[in-house]
Symmetry: C2
Subunit: 148 residues, 2 copies
Amino acid sequence: MDMPEYGFDPLKLSNQLCFPLYVCSKEIIKKYRPLLEKLDLTYTQYITMMALWEEDSLSVKELGDRLYLDSGTLTPLLKSLETKGYVTRTRLESDERVLAVSLTEEGKALRVKALPIPAAVAACTSLSAEDARSLYDLLYKFIGNLRG
Amino acid sequence: MDMPEYGFDPLKLSNQLCFPLYVCSKEIIKKYRPLLEKLDLTYTQYITMMALWEEDSLSVKELGDRLYLDSGTLTPLLKSLETKGYVTRTRLESDERVLAVSLTEEGKALRVKALPIPAAVAACTSLSAEDARSLYDLLYKFIGNLRG
DNA sequence: ATAAATTTGATTGCGCGCAATTTAATAGCA
DNA sequence: TGCTATTAAATTGCGCGCAATCAAATTTAT
């Protein structure tokens, strides 16, 4: 027989922290889509390019560490970026297990077209600078705690 | 010819707000996986069940509005939940376009097995109560701004 | 030197997530 | 009454996201 319940319901959607995280992530990525379409990139491809714009020639492993993605996601994604002509994939002579991913000239040039994107997306959100900063800090605190 | 750049780089991964959102969402859902496995639910199925535990018998449309999901995601997901025996799918006589999703007895009973999950996940995060509250509030502020 | 363990990446398979299209049913209106 | 517009789901197709497995190369310990 069911007992009546009082007070806090741990299973209410509005009592979850994960649910708004999940929604925010999806909804904000949705804002990127029309902008990235012009560059022929998906969001995951975009952050991969960002990692390479910061440091050209990274291994799949290094990319995975920085982007929190594994090879099951990266391998087909990198092949797709190679097909688009944005990156090359070359195995190291010194260690044939390591696949080095590097930008092509076209891939490097794409960065200029991507430059206005962050501000364009930020314009959709209308969070104050302080709120955005707080959110940023809390998210990284969260990630830091999770990694273990 | 390239100009040297000074100061803020809008395309640095560490200058993005979306990236840590995306990572947090994925990493926290990863924490749910082993817990939900025991209930034979994925995370998306879990939040669908949560919506139904809150209010039994919702249309696909209502579920989509509450969960920020569309029919392309929900239709196969709900068929899967039906196959597992957790929900039924019935069209309304009054309006045959509307598909009512309702809990079976097994689906209702599953709630008890799910009760300890939120606390178990919260234990992984070790955010203080105040930080969790701040994060929660900022995320909903963010969602509120995005909906337009 | 050689066997065992580790590391790196590829592959496979499944479940979203979503845009676009289609089908069916209802509501609004001349 | 019909005609149109709208709404609700389903369907299709593609790209992740990730667990699990596999193969190859390297490191290590004996």
